[in-house]
Amino acid sequence: MTIPPPMLVRFQGSDATTANALQAVQEFAERAGLPDAMRSDLLVVTDEIVSNLLKYGGLPRERVELEVRASIEQGALTLQFADNGRPFDPLSAPPPALELPVKQRPIGGLGIHLVRSLTDKQRYARSDGRNVLVLTRAVGL
């Protein structure tokens, strides 16, 4: 594993897609030489967050602005997503009913549960007309 330079990518309009965000995070994980399982975790988190903000952002696709940042500092990887959609805190979603067998569960809340379980810290802020979500995860670097 090596510490790559911080990554910052901005996507606008039709480029603001889950696939592009996943690609960016995948590349960062590869540059850092992260183990497969950790890379998988980061990609899951990215899919959950980006697909959510695109769904609930309330903007026509051509007006979406999405920013993805990744950096590794002092043993912690920080992944940050910022978008210009309406105020939306993905962390405020209700938890899923995990105590029920899969068959009986309402389908919902799984995505954010995964985000919380696959990261160490999560923080949401609304700043300058943007939703900003910061996630951190300890890495052995």
Binding site: L22, D36, D47, S51, L98, V102, R105, I107, L110, G111
Partner: protein, 120 residues
């Protein structure tokens, strides 16, 4: 990121679905379609995840729908060859007790042989 789905319906009553790539919010609808197209008479669906890089909640939902459908007709879904990351996701949502998971191809083949005998 793309998903390739290989469906093997050569054995009666068993359909094997091999997944290659990522099962995420973009690709989950593809799998949904493929699973919905499985013949109603197929009782055992095997999801081979050996080449699956990751699965997100969108993918999980599709698997759960298939699980419900199979169980409603007395069948099941079997998952095999999960990577560490994929297995962790199933564990986090506590889905593993709901489905058969096999650690090795040998274990699964023995199960399939037994299942086929049961089918007669």
């Amino acid at each position: 990121m793309p998903l390739k789905i290989d469906v093997d319906a050569n054995k009666p009553g068993i359909t094997r679905v091999a997944l290659v790539g990522s099962l995420d919010s973009d690709t989950a609808p593809q799998l949904e379609k493929a699973l919905a197209a499985i013949d109603a008479a197929v009782l055992l669906v095997v999801l081979d995840m050996k080449e699956l890089a990751f699965i997100s909640s969108a993918g999980l939902r599709v698997v759960f729908v298939a699980l419900k459908r199979q169980e409603a007709k007395g069948g099941e879904v079997v998952v095999t060859n999960m990577s560490e990351g994929v297995k962790k996701v199933f564990e986090i949502v506590k889905a593993l007790p709901n489905m058969n998971v096999f650690a090795s191809v040998k274990e699964m083949d023995e199960y399939l042989a037994h299942f086929q005998k049961k089918q007669g």
